[in-house]
Amino acid sequence: MELVTPGVGLVFWQVVTFLIVLFLLAKFAWTPIMKALSDREASIENALSAAERAKLEIQGLKAENEKLLAEARLERDKILKEATEAGNSIVETAKQKANEEGARMIAQAREAIETEKRAAVADMKNTAAVLAVDIAERILRKELNDKQAQQALAQEYIKEVTLN
């Protein structure tokens, strides 16, 4: 029975002490501790959501960058294609011009050669004629010393004439 009979003194001290402890701890320990804990939790929560937002933002930026990059690539391709085309056409034109020029020069050269040839032939003809006359004169001079030979020659000529 002694064990389960609460003593007045202990009840008194327990009430007084516990209430003082409750008051002091509540005021100087629990309130600041609970506040610090919830503040820290809130700040962690904020930091996490900020990180999430930043991640989304970065993703947005990345997509935009990719779009810009793709656009730039297209632009580059277009410019390259245009440049190639322009280059090709220039080369084509140059080639054509060169061909034309070449043809014209060949034609000129041919003409010049022809003229030269004609001149040379004419010259050759003249020289040949002079030579022939000269040879004929010398032959005639030698041949006509002999009567018989003159006769034979004349005969020859006549024969030729009649045959023609």
Binding site: L3, P6, G9, L10, W13, F18, L25, A29, A36, R40
Partner: protein
């Protein structure tokens, strides 16, 4: 803080069981155990190492304060002093022969007993630890906890999230100071009681009575309309049952804290009794051979008691939180019934 613990421990480690009363060579285990778990006017660590605590008596309005040393002679036997005498651990008015007189009215004993002194030590510990922790939070706001702060922070968060929030609901915040104080008060005192030479404070019915009464008062004063409606007009119970139901519900208000009071008291006291009984075996058998066995069992029990110390603090706090939760719960039973009906 660490140094304080070491100091306290070395102070209390002076053999606790040295005072086993051996009367005429005959060892009385029951007497020894009762003496150990009961309150006392002095703190006896060992023969020759006794702290005599102050006696405060209120006798018909006059306050008498003196050291309890006057009640003991050199053989540690009680003697009458100043018209008072200690009989069976209580102070009574005495006559000239040193016998308690019949009329004891108007005499109140508010002495600083062993339990009160032990409670003061626990209060110093509570203040020392939790003011230090609160200071750390103020000094490093938003930083990770360190040292003693990181040991207690998970426990505080556990009390908040798993005891208060889970059982009380959104209004948990106003109950946090009480729940935290009760939790750490019980835990610290349970542990101090396990120290060699420690007092059996939380195993004292007066202490658990006060703690349970505070739970009762807070529950009753925070009870909302819904709570009282459940007591005086329990939903779903026909009106003619009210004469039975109302007394039953009213008794229910009291039995909940009563169970808190008895549970803590019985658990802690039982633990002390078991450990003391195991040591008593050595003296009962008067054999050294029993020693190792007793020590092995007592060591095991001590570990179990370390767990019980925490468990009982948790249970007391948890059940208090549940009672508070029941008192502030909002009205939603009808909806639940309606949902239940819909399912069938």
């Amino acid at each position: 803080m660490k140094r304080l613990f070491v100091l306290l421990f070395s102070f209390l480690t002076i053999s606790a069981f040295a005072e086993a009363p051996v009367e005429g060579g005959k060892f009385n285990a029951g007497e020894m155990i009762t003496h150990h778990i009961a309150d006392d006017y002095n703190w006896h660590f060992a023969d020759g190492a006794t702290v005599y605590l102050p006696v405060i008596l209120i006798d018909n309005g006059t306050v008498n304060t003196f050291s309890s040393h006057h009640f003991y002679d050199e053989n540690h036997e009680t003697v009458p002093y100043n018209g008072y005498v200690i009989e069976h651990g209580h102070i009574y008015r005495a006559n000239a022969e040193g016998e308690p007189v019949a009329d004891q009215s108007g005499l109140y004993d508010l002495s600083i007993t062993k339990n009160v002194a032990s409670m003061f030590i626990s209060v110093l510990l509570l203040f020392g630890i939790f003011f230090t922790i609160a200071g750390r939070y103020k000094k490093n706001p938003g930083k990770a906890p360190s040292g003693i702060q990181s040991f207690f922070e998970p426990i505080i968060i556990f009390v908040r999230d798993d005891i208060a929030k889970a059982n009380i609901g959104p209004k948990y915040e106003r109950y946090m100071p009480f729940l935290l104080t009760v939790f750490f008060f019980i835990w610290f005192n349970n542990l101090l009681g396990l120290m060699p030479g420690g007092a059996n404070l939380t195993g004292n019915i007066a202490v658990t009575l006060v703690l349970a009464s505070l739970t009762l008062l807070i529950t009753v004063f925070s009870g909302n309309k819904n709570y009282w409606k459940h007591i005086f007009a329990t939903p779903g119970v026909p009106g003619w049952l009210a004469p039975i139901m109302i007394p039953v519900e009213l008794i229910g208000i009291l039995t909940k804290p009563f169970s808190l009071m008895v549970r803590l008291f019985a658990n802690i006291t039982a633990g002390h009794i078991i450990i003391l009984s195991l040591f008593s075996l050595i003296f009962i058998f008067q054999s050294v051979a029993v020693g190792p066995l007793s020590v092995a069992f007592a060591t095991f029990m001590n570990f179990l008691e370390l767990f019980v110390a925490l468990l009982q603090a948790y249970i007391f706090t948890l059940l208090s939180a549940m009672y508070f939760g029941g008192a502030v719960e909002e009205h939603h039973h009808e909806e639940e019934h309606a949902h239940g009906e819909a399912h069938h």
